[in-house]
């Protein structure tokens, strides 16, 4: 598969320290996730919702040459990119829904993505949260990575602590800080 080779190449470049490749990785993953989401939604019962973890893992399997890139560093890059891609997808969708009028003509793909159920789903809050997360990156990049992996890629705390190579207790602390900071930010309470 072309895309698979492409991603494999990028992951290897990243492994070798070529950080530019991150930017290339994201769009590929983004496309794949959107496609996957749309396909899943088209094939499944109406009202059924998707699971982030399932999507991301499936994308992983499809996009990454598993034999060759089993090393954890690659997985961290991949999941990071996937989480970032998910975030983009959701923010795009939120924006679209916010600006579109009801009853307009939509492209089939947009409609499908519109079915993505959100937990506590108001569109403004997705955007606000996404912006807050972007600001949080400057405050604590590791905790920010954790938030993205957990919230957008749906990984468990345990999985995250291993991917990020931090002790589980540290992961718990990072998570506590991230939640508190982001909640405060989203509420607009920081002084």
């Amino acid at each position: 598969m072309n895309v698979m080779n492409e991603i494999t190449r990028i992951l290897n470049d990243l492994q070798e320290g070529d950080l530019q490749s991150s930017d290339e990785l994201m769009p590929l993953v983004y496309n794949e996730l959107r496609q996957l989401a749309a396909n899943k939604l088209a094939n499944e019962k109406p009202g059924q919702t998707l699971q982030a973890t399932a999507l991301v893992h499936e994308a992983f399997v499809r996009l990454v040459d598993v034999d060759y890139t089993q090393q954890w560093k690659n997985r961290r890059h991949f999941f990071g990119a996937a989480a970032e891609a998910m975030r983009r997808i959701l923010v795009d969708r939120a924006r679209k829904r916010r600006t579109e009028k009801h009853g307009g003509e939509h492209q089939r793909l947009e409609i499908d993505l519109g079915l993505l159920a959100m937990e506590n789903g108001e569109d403004e809050s997705v955007e606000r949260l996404s912006e807050a997360i972007a600001r949080f990156d400057a405050v604590d990049p590791l905790a920010c990575e954790l938030v993205k992996l957990r919230y957008f890629a749906g990984l468990s705390m345990r999985e995250c602590s291993e991917l990020l190579e931090v002790a589980p207790r540290s992961a718990d602390r990072l998570w506590a800080f991230a939640k508190a900071w982001l909640l405060r930010e989203v509420r607009g309470e920081s002084c």
């Binding site: 982030a52 993505l116 957990r150 291993e162 909640l183 309470e189």
Partner: protein, 634 residues
């Protein structure tokens, strides 16, 4: 110091006064800093479910079926509707007092448990609401409220916190909300736990039981389903459901013929309907520990009566028969907790914690009890019916110890014996430098044992009951800092104990119809190697090797992986094991990988038909060599 570090230190302190004091010290004159930290702390306390559920996910986990979840929720709320008002918060189902009900967490015979938002204190809580029908009659209502009072009487990290008890419009208990699963769910999903984790969790449970003991409360229904595990990277245990709890004096007057509690974890005295004390909970703890370690309860049977009979009369199946590599000290602690006679058990939760901490089945606290005549505790904690026996223990594997007078000396002797015995286990076997010679020695030792065993198809080998590994350390820990990703279909784990006929199943896995595009990935994870380092921190120099030996013959390398070269395949497993019935793997195998492949097979009825030997799979390994030995029974 910045707000981050102060915040992280402050959240370790549960007490608001302590926190305030800490902030005073840490922030000093800097009012801005202090207020920033304060807002962080407030957000922390109120965060509740914020960010906990991934952005794209099903509406509710735990008890929902595949059906439309909101329908089920509505059905469950049906009988309560008359008492509930409309929700005022978006996405909430209803409101009860100043609580906005967000989701149903579970339901039982007594009522339902919901997750709700407390509007007054801006926090997420769990609320247990009694069924309206039950609320009408006095006994269930009383019992429900008694539960709350029992738990409310104890303020402890490992006991569910009770925030409020209300009786109008219907009785309900407001509790702390703990996000996570029960120990039962954890065991169902992932199988037995490793010894370290069992020790850690058991200490927490015992700690909670100690608080209950101090408050003179017996829980009476300690079981895996009543133990919550918080959803953190380091889970915390919380004892819930004090529905059957009784104060000690209350418990001495039981109604005849009424046996309350789950038979599987019940103590013999409970099963017989006798007066109880806190040691009944300790027995139940032993049953829970047994299950955490082996994956199954100690006393099973086809009916409640059969189970109770076994509880009162039979010894549980030896742990080493189920999971060979549980260390001796852990087994002894469990057996002692499961002693039929309560005076043979640990006499208090503190002793259990002590034993677990020191990894010695004997508790130091025990000496005092027998050497000094003084009674340590108030009379209600010493059972009237059993006499205090001299230091005489009768666990399955222990020698007899006689006089109480020499308890002190005896304990020392026992300690030495234990050390000596484990020591001999520790040095049994070969070194693991990886040199071919030692491999051969290992193989030939095992080969010897193989030859002694039966070779009949289906008959268990004698080898299975012998420890294959070379020290007693538990292997079941997952290694290498890599969580094994799991393709979407395989998101449930079967219990560790099952058999698989490996050559066949690998072929079967490969032959799954092409519709399933993941199929080719499975055989790789099944045998994939990983970094053999046991810490979460990745060791760039570590490498993994997977080897196989057939019938105890020479080890054949299958895969190796190094950070530089990546994965290298040397031989093809299918080719090697074709037609073989008995073989060992030795290498750095994730337990999860084996589970994953087996679960895949179990999830496909067609594959299951082709694998009639899906029974027990033993996994054991050596901490020193970081190699695993996996045995497949035919």
């Amino acid at each position: 110091m910045n707000e981050r570090s102060i915040f992280l230190d402050a959240i370790e302190l549960d007490n608001k006064t302590q926190r305030a004091r800490y902030l005073d010290g840490a922030c000093g004159d800097d009012a801005l800093l202090r207020s920033r930290v304060q807002t962080l702390l407030d957000a922390h306390d109120q965060a509740g479910e914020f960010l906990e559920e991934p952005a794209v996910s099903p509406v509710e986990s735990s008890n929902s079926s595949a059906e439309d979840p909101s329908d089920t929720d509505e059905v469950l709320l049906q009988s309560l509707r008359p008492f509930l008002k409309e929700a005022t918060r978006p996405d909430c189902l209803a409101s009860l007092g100043h609580y906005q009900i967000e989701a149903i967490l579970g339901s039982g015979a007594f009522g339902i448990v919901v997750r709700a938002f407390d509007e007054k204190l801006s926090r997420i809580v769990a609320i247990k609401i009694l069924h309206p029908e039950l609320a009408l009659t006095s006994p269930p209502r009383k019992r429900f409220l008694r539960e709350a009072k029992a738990a409310a009487a104890i303020n402890h990290d490992h006991i569910i916190g009770i925030h409020a008890i209300n009786e109008l419009p219907i009785p309900y208990i407001v509790m702390e909300y703990v996000r996570g699963k029960t120990v039962q769910q954890q065991l169902d999903e992932n199988g037995p736990l490793e010894t370290e984790e069992v020790a850690r969790l058991s200490q927490q449970i015992a700690s909670g039981l100690n608080a209950a003991q101090t408050a003179n409360i017996i829980h009476r229904d300690i079981k895996p389903a009543n133990l919550l595990l918080s959803d953190a990277a380091v889970p915390r245990v919380i004892i819930t459901d004090f529905g059957l709890a009784r104060a000690v004096d209350d418990a001495t007057m039981t109604q005849t013929g009424v046996i309350a509690g789950s038979p599987l974890y019940m103590s013999p005295e409970q099963a017989r309907g006798e007066p109880l004390d806190h040691r009944a909970d300790l027995f139940s703890l032993g049953s829970v520990m047994y299950q955490m370690v082996t994956g199954r309860p100690p006393f099973r049977g086809p009916s409640t009566l059969a189970v109770l009979k076994r509880v009162t009369e039979d010894e549980p199946r030896p742990i080493e028969d189920i999971i060979p590599d549980v260390p001796d000290w852990m087994r002894q602690i469990i057996y002692r907790l499961l002693a039929k006679s309560r005076s043979s058990r640990y006499q208090s939760a503190i002793e259990v914690i002590d034993a677990l901490t020191r990894k010695e089945a004997d508790s130091e606290f025990n000496i005092n009890k027998f050497v000094t005549a003084a009674v340590l505790d108030s009379p209600s904690r010493i059972p009237q019916t059993d006499e205090i026996e001299p230091a005489r223990r009768s666990f399955p594997e222990r020698k007899f110890l006689k006089s109480a007078v020499v308890a002190m000396v005896v304990t020392l002797v026992v300690t030495l014996v234990v050390t000596y015995t484990s020591g001999s286990f520790l040095h049994f076997g070969t070194d693991h430098s990886g040199a071919t010679n030692s491999n051969q020695d290992d193989a030939s030792v095992q080969n010897q044992q193989l030859v002694d065993g039966q070779q009949e198809t289906g008959a268990p080998l004698a080898i299975i009951t012998h420890p294959i590994q070379t020290n007693a350390a538990s292997y079941r820990k997952e290694r290498g800092g890599v969580t094994y990703w799991c393709p979407t279909e395989l998101n449930r784990w079967a219990s560790v104990t099952f058999k698989v006929q490996v050559p066949f199943s690998i072929a079967a896995v490969k032959n799954v119809p092409p519709l399933d595009r993941h199929v080719n990935q499975y055989h790789v994870p099944f045998l994939h190697i990983y970094n053999s380092h046991s810490d979460v921190n990745f060791d760039p120099k570590a490498s993994g090797i997977l080897e196989v030996s057939i019938d105890g013959k020479e080890w054949i390398k299958l895969y190796s992986s190094t950070p530089d070269e990546g994965l290298e395949e040397f031989n093809n497993l299918s080719d090697i094991v074709q037609g073989q019935k008995i073989f060992y793997f030795r290498g750095s195998l994730f337990v999860s990988e084996i589970k994953m492949a087996c679960q895949f097979i179990r999830s496909r009825p067609a594959l299951q038909d082709k694998n009639p030997y899906l029974n027990s799979l033993r996994i054991s390994g050596s901490e020193e060599s970081e190699k695993a030995v996996v045995v497949f029974e035919p």
